[in-house]
Subunit: 274 residues, 4 copies
């Protein structure tokens, strides 16, 4: 990569120390691993409240949940919209956990900023340049997922679009790339973690749930992500995965999440993190 | 593919006859092959006028040119914006050729509709669902490029997003997919042409210029596209490719385009088209 | 590609004229398109004789058929072995058509050379270097299929392995690469045809049957291959595809093959070939 | 995967307990992590002896080194051949470390069996079925690397080819798959580790050196592999990577290997292994 000209702001050549992003009381990119957990989609008040309590109790630092869902088909469940944002915000207040949720268009940025602590850009929108510029002009941190077929250069360039507007609080999120492999939904490219750490000072977290698409493989990939040097994890959890309105197959039951977080803690300590 | 439920509007099961889209005097999807040609980016008035005259003289039916350019890096040339649209529209009036240009965000749709005859959705925005809905609510035809790692199912679902809003004038455009191959910029997946023809009634054209990324391979792939059953071609041409502001390497010189169009005409006749 | 050092024998820089390979009375790589057709696997005497008669009658120049079959599972039908070779040779004598069949190991080379006119190296063996050297030491032409994930550089280097042993009669065969696409068995990379023509003087043919994996798409891709500049086609045909012992789904019925060959002839003439 | 019929011997449905393979005093597939280290290619006596001493001193359990090298070009260094095997065997005797080396053809099997403790099948030969059958007929353990574009089903089917001949001592080795990613040589697909563990009882190790192709990323991926559940690692080490005859760019210096092994030990303990 000819990073010198491309990554004036995202590149490590102009800022050698790691960027640490503060969200309420939580730091992302420091010594401590950050765990973001929650359902794929906000479904209803009881579901959201219950999962938020579980996530809080198990020691995760942030809550995730989709209110606006990017779906391949226009006929699939598209999320609860603003009602979902309200349920998320309520669960955030109750638990004290900051909230991450996806923004799918420039028109939604101001609305979602009212409810969420971190704005997520999904894989399909990684090169939606208007959206990148728009989240770059507001002040909340942005979680930027890697596109399904994005090179590292394209991914960092997308971060650069955001940063060039003044918002330097960008968290990168590896979520798997599209390959010929069929046993997993995507192929989690964990080598992107050390590559990003070499070229950029930005924090990078990993979403193993979307990558593997099957709950049985999530724990192994979560542990591998931490061992590879990731700064955090984004995990899907659901009380009743079989009944989830989207992506139930890849969601962990609460007891599996508890077990996973215990092991993550062990691996984190092994490599000198918390 | 389980197309029955997914493609209520785009699928062939509910509309067996091919869709033919009328743009001024030109039909896309009928017996006659449609050729859209022009520069990658509108650069200045003289360039645009000259290329438009060449395109007209060589017998192409439509003019292409980018005013708003999606670029990987925020520091690359981003297009002339509305000034580019004005130059395109002027060239359209002079030559009588309808104009295709890319719309990169919902906010641009009404502006671009004033100048262009067909709105192009680029590969990076194939799953920008807000943009799809927005172009679905206006009346001009939409040229929907395939995403870099989109399956046929995802591509037709994106068309379905547009059509579900009421606009059934969707033209699909194969432009290559991202693979391990390095000798070409992308891998032109011409088998998508018969697959689309099997599952959908929508017209499908091919952009060999972006797919191969090198002018020497464009002619072969253009001829192959027509032989495979494509309804048209989208081609990049430039008077002076070495000096082009973007993608000069894949642009044809006018004399090469003339030769290509002559051969396209021969192959079209060979398979019973014009 | 840094072809100068890598492709001393296969590269066009040291031999600018196209290589034309003579097999009995048939030339491969000249002005005339070569069609090789036959069943995926030799199944029994009647099947082989009948298909050979059909292939002959429809005007194809060569007969194909697998006696030793590379199969993913050790429990799948592995071919008739030497008995299959005998049936192939008998059909060859009856019809006067030369025969192409796959050689899967160095140990089989001398046996297969007794029966076949061209030795085929399958995609899985493209980098079986001992086998490449072995077929390079005998005198019959070699049909070298592209590996499932081979770059053009690796493919030409495999040809170079054969040629470096003294056998310069190498025919390249594009048969699709492995990508994320699921609607076709592989992704036929037709841009490899002009890329090969640019870098090498060797003839290149295309096998659309294995690439697309579905008979409905074979004709489109066969026509596209010829339009792209391929020197020939390799096609699977079967009297009764539903009952074929392997790959029936991608085999053409005789009447479909007849129609395809008629169209191939039209496209070939359109681009100045026969 | 429809594993029931395909994987009679390699599948977990017929043998639920993990297979542990004994090589001299070392077990592969048990609680203890196995580390195999050494140079990409055996270059000369001093190099081999020195690296073997280093590998022994740092606590690795086995020695690797290529005597016959599969190279893309026929003009690249092809290995020292039998002389390389002798140097490997000498280093093995001196250090007491068992030796793994690659066998590239059926004709080499008996020769290599005389010198090596484990026969390695390289990625390019994963579907060289004659070679698979041949190593299946002898008694030494086989290390079966995953093909560059092999699905898990194809990989386990290749193991089944070996096992169906009577040799059940198969060790699987993930070494990266070919994707569009350019920042690493291949894309290490660590999710294959839990997928293999679900479907098969065979041990699985990981080769991060070939996967990433750059020494800076090897440590992260080695730690990730262990965290993901791999039974061991295969690592390239060289006293003087800049002068290595092949793949120097991805080789670790001895001091980096020492550091890596220390961290591997920490992560192994964290997940309850040794």
């Amino acid at each position: 990569m000819k990073q010198n000209n491309l990554f004036k702001l995202a590149g490590r050549q102009n800022k050698t120390s790691n960027t640490v992003i503060k969200v309420d009381q939580t730091l992302i990119g420091g010594k401590k691993i950050t765990v973001i957990a929650g359902p794929c989609a906000v479904e209803n008040e009881k579901q959201m409240d219950d999962i938020a309590q579980i996530v809080k109790r198990l020691g995760a630092q942030m809550l995730r949940g989709g209110a606006f869902k990017p779906r391949t088909s226009p006929y699939s469940f598209q999320g609860l919209g603003e009602e979902g944002l309200r349920l998320l915000a309520k669960a955030s207040v109750t638990t004290g956990l900051p909230v991450v949720t996806e923004v799918m268009s420039a028109a939604q940025v101001s609305l979602i900023s009212k409810y969420a602590h971190i704005l997520q850009i999904g894989a399909r929108n990684m090169q939606n340049f208007e959206l990148l510029r728009c989240v770059g002009k507001q002040g909340k941190p942005v979680l930027l997922k890697r596109g399904m077929s994005a090179t590292i250069e394209e991914w960092l360039s997308a971060a650069e679009y955001i940063m060039a507007q003044g918002n330097h609080k960008v968290i990168l999120c590896e979520r798997g790339i599209r390959t010929f492999v069929r046993e997993t939904r995507n192929t989690l490219d964990l080598s992107s973690v050390p590559v990003i750490k070499r070229y950029s000072h930005l924090p990078v977290i990993v979403d193993p749930s979307h990558a593997v698409g099957h709950w049985e493989y999530v724990e192994s990939m979560a542990l591998a992500a931490i061992a590879a040097g990731a700064d955090g994890l984004m995990l899907e959890v659901h009380q009743d995965p079989e009944e989830a309105l989207s992506d139930g197959f890849q969601s962990l039951k609460p007891e599996k999440l508890a077990q996973l977080l215990h092991k993550v803690s062990m691996v984190a300590h092994a490599i000198g993190r918390e």
